[in-house]
């Protein structure tokens, strides 16, 4: 196991895509220390910014202790191994990851798990905007994998989702699951407006109160319970909406009946 601790507070963003189990594997401590990172516009090595220690335990492969909020692209493209971040994580953590596991014992910044294909990300704090969403302008969504967030998430989470499961135990911002085509998103508490805008497939389960429902969704039925993934199903009852009709979509939006009495008027259309 390699342990990294920041030597000081960072004022400008640090790009450290080399903090990656695949990269560290089969490298000596000295080679790891010389991996390139940039701080702002300066080219540095890993040992210029972090204290690097090694011990004999196998898992996790990398432990990051301290505030990594300014450190971007940790675990970018990782395929195997495990990273534990004891502190906040920076932007683009686990971007394009294709396997392995990242555990964040703190808050995660924006674009965590962006464009990931497989693997697991556990966030034991809040997550920022664009969780599991592609970079601005891109349509390359998450293809698979599993993301679980204990806290709240920001706006535009799970955009262009093509597969995989996102579970959020707190609240979610606007445009949840924008343009998603497959996969599942589950929000336990409140969800802000425009969930599922432009979705054409997949499912969004909103177990808490919903501030506003898109008018381009139509009610289909009421179901007593709904399955999130193979291991979990949630007791309802749930209104089942289909949409987004503006994009000829057949995505499913499950909204809790008990927590959303304002939607009761939909029942007359059943």
């Amino acid at each position: 196991m390699i342990t990294l601790t920041p030597l000081r507070n960072f004022d400008v963003p640090v790009h450290a895509s080399c903090i990656n189990p695949d990269e560290f594997k089969s490298k000596t401590l000295k080679e790891i220390a010389e991996l390139p990172v940039t701080e702002g516009n300066r080219n540095l090595t890993l040992s210029d910014l972090f204290k690097i220690e090694q011990d004999k335990t196998e898992t996790p492969s990398i432990t990051l202790n301290g505030d990594f909020k300014k450190v971007k692209r940790v675990g970018q493209g990782m395929k195997t191994g495990e990273i534990i971040i004891n502190g906040n994580a920076g932007m683009h953590t686990g971007e394009r990851m294709a396997g392995g596991k990242i555990v964040i014992n703190g808050n995660a910044d924006s674009w965590t798990g962006s464009e990931m294909k497989a693997g697991t990300i556990e966030i034991h704090g809040d997550a920022g905007d664009y969780l599991a969403s592609p970079y601005r302008g891109s349509g390359t969504g998450v293809k698979g994998g599993y993301i679980i967030v204990d806290g709240n998430v920001g706006n535009e989470v799970g955009c262009y989702l093509k597969g995989g499961v996102i579970k959020i135990k707190g609240n979610a911002g606007i445009f949840l699951g924008y343009h998603m085509t497959d996969g599942a998103i589950y929000v336990e508490k409140q969800c802000s407006s425009r969930a599922g805008a432009a979705m054409t497939g997949g499912k969004i389960i909103l177990a808490g109160a919903v501030s506003e429902l898109m008018p381009s969704f139509t009610i289909d039925s009421i179901k007593p319970k709904v399955k999130v993934d193979k291991t979990q199903s949630v007791a309802g009852p749930f209104y089942v909406f289909l949409g987004d009709l503006a994009d000829h979509g057949t995505g499913k939006l499950f909204v809790s009946k008990t927590n959303n009495p304002q939607l009761a008027f939909y029942e007359k259309y059943l």
Partner: protein, 565 residues
Amino acid sequence: MAEILVKNGFVVDPTNKIDGEKMDIAIKDGKIVKKVNERKAKIIDASGLTVMAGGVDIHSHIAGAEVNMGRLIRPEDHYKDAVRKTKLTRSGTGYSIPSTFVTGYRYSTMGYTTVMNGSFAPLKAKHVHEELNDIPLLDKGTYPLLGDWWFVLENLAKGDIEECARHVAWMMQSTKGYAIKVVNPGGLESWGFGHNVHSIDDQVPNFCITPREIVRGLIKVDKMLNLPHTIHLHTNNLGQPGNYKTTLDTMRAIEDLSTDGKPVAHITHIQFASFAGDDWGKFRSGADEISKYINAHNHITLDMGQVIFTDTTTMTADGPFEYTLYTLSGHKWVNSDVETEASGGIIPFTYKKNNAVNAIQWSIGLEIALLVKDPWKIFMTTDHPNGGPFMSYPRVLAWLMSKKAREATLKRCHKKAQKKSLLPSIDRELSLYELAIVTRAGTAKALGMPNKGHLGVGADGDVAIFNINPETTDIAKKYKAVRKAFKESVYTIKDGKIVAKDGEVVDNTTPGRTMWVDVKTKQPCIINEEMKRKFREYWSIEYENYPVSDHYVKVSDKLTVEASV
């Protein structure tokens, strides 16, 4: 200025019929000369290397409002290709639409020294020249879109070719353009009303004219004005299945206009205009029909518009075609109508090997390039960025030069494309000599640039040296080495200065010239109150502010031609 002597290289110069001869090339004061003082000159040892003239790209969208709009809507494109600054070069971004400086650097490191901007709406001329000024290390030119300009349509409908010619001459001067660009003639004007034209004999709404008359009229205008390049034509129905018939109709319609056996039109990105089949399901290649016609006639030149399997951005003045792409892909779409002149559209697009249509498109481009026997008739382009970014040129060259390279790609394509492709039946592999024609000598000739594309005495001192030894390398087998060699020239010399070496830019002091045509008509275009009134009523820019003044062009290379009207 420094003298340079390139010694002992294998010189490939088709214009002067030199094929791999070991000889020296001397450059002095930015021009190729007979000899230089060996003791004073900088000697470049090119033994074992291939020496060619600097590359001349006939059609590439590198500057203008459309290109810039493409950059604006694609942050994800820049995100994956950020270019850091060095001591000499500026920072920038790629990928499919590189920023201006990066465009210059990347072309230069591939051995290109001249690039022509594929099209621009005359209204946006100032923007084009601002961007061209910022593209370093290259000589540039640009083609104004004139096929749907109201003055052209009105005068041609009246049958007044001479007045039309004067207006075109005025426009060429005012926008500092190089050649007449015609895109989907009649279609762009129709698109302003939500329509398109579907054959060369459809009526253009409100103008009582057909695409056939527009193309024929502008060819006559081009001849009257003695412009260096022929008209640069993007045909009707581009990108529609079965459009090879329209392309053939267009070529037949102008057959009689070539009186001296010289080309009268350049049909650009022919791949997009050679689709056969009734719909996308029955989509197949029309390369056979097109190439048969081209082999039997001499009045047309072509460029490939080759498709590369990558994520790119399509941009064209052909607004209705971009709408078709939008309905197919559902991707983000820019649509525009440029006042009285043109339309435009932009859509990001990914060409995929496992998509039957895309894979057949890839095959069509190569089929035509290989089936047209005379390399002086078809040139290599990707219609950057429509078929793929220009950085992919080395891959296209490898496909042209090696059957093995084509097979390697074809076997990973969609099954349907493999079955329908004509490529397995084509054994032709371009030699270095033919390659120099399709990338430099032929394009320079078609563009009417006597000083470019060759290494004869008096030519511009633009030289590219590649790491290919024709004596020891079997280029058809070692296609990967060829690809690498064309990706990074050993030396690129521009105007007698070494600007790139081993794939790195080593000079930032050469801005490159902007070539434009100043047409002197016998009678000037009559700028009467009527014309000014039209400017006031139909344009957002007044007549007085419309022309690009001389100070806009940083390094101006004016070509003055005497018109016969």
